[in-house]
């Protein structure tokens, strides 16, 4: 299929800045993307903006035009809401619009303000991505839902808390030098295992944090890039999205992510590649077990084998397939509506050579982003390739 060049990317530093509004953070990210691309706001044809809990955190709905307004754009603007996959889906919409030939420049990304809420209220806000009748009324939180998946995974395939801890340690290691990451600090397995339990088997360090932040990317048609002499180095060459039953109890499996499997299959076919071609990946590690489910669903590992990937050093910075060189959601942070766009921003830089961890993947040609919503009832997979 037609490749869609990424002309520019930008994101805020993720972290705890609860006084900043989502519109402000998206504007900052968009400003960086304009500067990176050399494109002015008045060239933007459409805006797709990811945001999940604006009504809960900011009493703000109808945030598509608000985001466009903040980014200096007067154009059709739509909010995309797919829980934590919101801006991954926004990116995919932008790709499809350009491929359709209807538009030349699309601003995509998202923002989320979360830390203005208490931990309890934020936990309740995130739970809105679960089934309100059959899960939330039973007391299911998101750490709880992923804990249910982790314990089922352990029952079926084995693995240990230490294996999960090695994922958290790896992703923290990757974030240490990343100035945009929320946690630029190393941790060790002992610290992970001794942290207070959130939901068994997860301790505090198995969970991504509450974060504030924004992300943006400017997607363009190849004709526009040529006509304006942009010379983008990276393009989206494949995209896939799929879904599943919203409630975990209604899935065919609680230890797999079939929506991610289907999304990956679509993205690989679209790009004309397979999992063995991927050199580097940014996956949705909202909880440590989520990285395991992701690398298995993406075809990097057989089911039941992904649990040992970090322990064996296969997905570390010097491993065969580095995963989450940005620090992932775990250490970079997870302002949910911004996460999918941030994956695009970080992976683009990794492939271009201007990310702090680019040296680890200096020969990489193909990268992949995996952005999941809920307990993977939504999943978007995008394939990025070096084109120059």
């Amino acid at each position: 299929m037609t490749r869609v060049p990424i002309a520019g990317v930008g994101m805020t530093k993720f972290g705890k800045s609860g006084e900043r509004t989502a519109r402000e953070m998206f504007a900052e990210a968009a400003g960086k993307a304009y500067d990176d691309a050399g494109i002015a706001p008045d060239d933007v044809d459409e805006v797709y903006y990811g945001n999940f809990m604006g009504e809960i955190a900011e009493q703000q709905g109808h945030s598509g035009p608000l985001a466009a307004d903040a980014a200096g754009v007067t154009a059709p603007a739509t909010r995309i809401e797919s829980a934590c996959a919101s801006s991954g889906a926004a990116v995919r919409h932008g790709v499809n619009r350009i491929r359709n030939g209807d538009v030349d420049v699309v601003l995509v990304g998202g923002a989320e303000r979360m830390t203005n809420l208490s931990t309890a209220d934020g936990t309740a806000g995130l739970a809105a991505a679960a089934d309100a009748l059959w899960e939330v009324k039973a007391g299911v939180t998101f750490p709880g839902a992923y804990s249910l998946m982790a314990n089922r995974y352990f029952h079926e395939h084995g693995g240990s808390r230490e294996d999960l801890a090695n994922i958290a340690v790896k992703n923290h290691d990757n974030a240490v030098e990343n100035p945009l990451a929320q946690f630029q600090m190393e941790i060790d397995v002992e610290k992970v295992l001794e942290a207070p339990t959130v939901c068994s088997p997860f301790g505090l360090f198995d969970c991504s944090p509450m974060s504030d932040g924004g992300s943006a990317a400017l997607l363009v048609s190849e004709d526009y890039a040529d006509d304006h002499g942009l010379g983008p180095e990276v393009a989206i060459t494949g995209t896939g999205q799929n879904g599943d039953r919203l409630a975990l109890q209604d899935r065919v499996s609680m230890s797999r992510a079939p929506a991610a499997e289907r999304a990956a299959e679509q993205a690989y076919a679209d790009a004309g590649i397979g999992p063995d071609d991927v050199d580097v990946a940014e996956v949705h590690d909202c909880f440590t077990i989520a990285e395991v489910l992701a690398i298995e669903a993406l075809g990097f590992y057989e089911q039941g084998e992904g649990i040992k990937a970090a322990t064996n050093g296969e997905t570390t910075i010097d491993g065969e397939l580095p995963v989450n060189l940005s620090g992932g959601l775990k250490a970079k942070g997870h302002p949910v509506g911004a996460t999918g766009g941030a994956q695009i921003s970080e992976l683009t830089k990794l492939l271009r050579g201007d990310h702090v961890n680019s040296d680890a993947v200096s020969d990489a040609e193909i990268g992949l982003t995996h952005n999941a919503g809920g307990t993977v009832a939504s999943c978007v997979v995008n394939v990025l390739e070096v084109i120059a």
Binding site: A120, D121, E135, K137, S147, L148, Q249, M254
Partner: protein
């Protein structure tokens, strides 16, 4: 807000009523797939002719977790155990009561009941050892 004031959720509250009356049910499609209400269609097949079938008396825990950090609606309930249990062709999420949290395990046989959320007094699905 008491249960008398709250607007009912069709399907969900009907199911809890049926559990309390000792006649729990699930919805079955012609293909034999089981679901909880409210359902107009089988999401796997698109079939619309769903019928109410009696829920098996016991189920088996497929997975569980002890939740220590809860949202405001369950603040006074924590810690509590959430589990997903298989009852015939349908899976149900609820809280496990009547046994030590640490003793809840996959494969445990349970019965279904209706309990109360300590924090807000709302009804919820609970499981107890069979």
């Amino acid at each position: 807000m008491s249960d008398d004031d709250r607007v009912r959720d069709n399907g969900y509250d009907d199911f809890l009523d049926a559990v309390e009356e000792g006649e729990p049910y699930y919805l079955e499609s012609p293909s034999g797939n089981g679901w909880l209400p409210p359902r107009q269609m089988d999401p796997e097949t698109g079939e619309r002719d769903l019928t109410e079938e009696p829920l098996p008396e016991t189920g088996e825990i497929l997975t569980s977790t002890i939740t220590n950090v809860a949202g405001p609606s369950f603040a006074d309930d924590a810690p509590f155990v959430v589990a997903v249990a298989q009852f015939g062709p349908v899976r149900i999420t609820g809280q496990v009561r009547g046994m030590d949290h640490e003793d809840v395990d996959i494969g445990q046989e349970v019965t279904i009941g209706v309990g109360e959320n300590e924090t807000e007094g709302e009804r919820l699905v609970v499981f107890e050892p069979a």
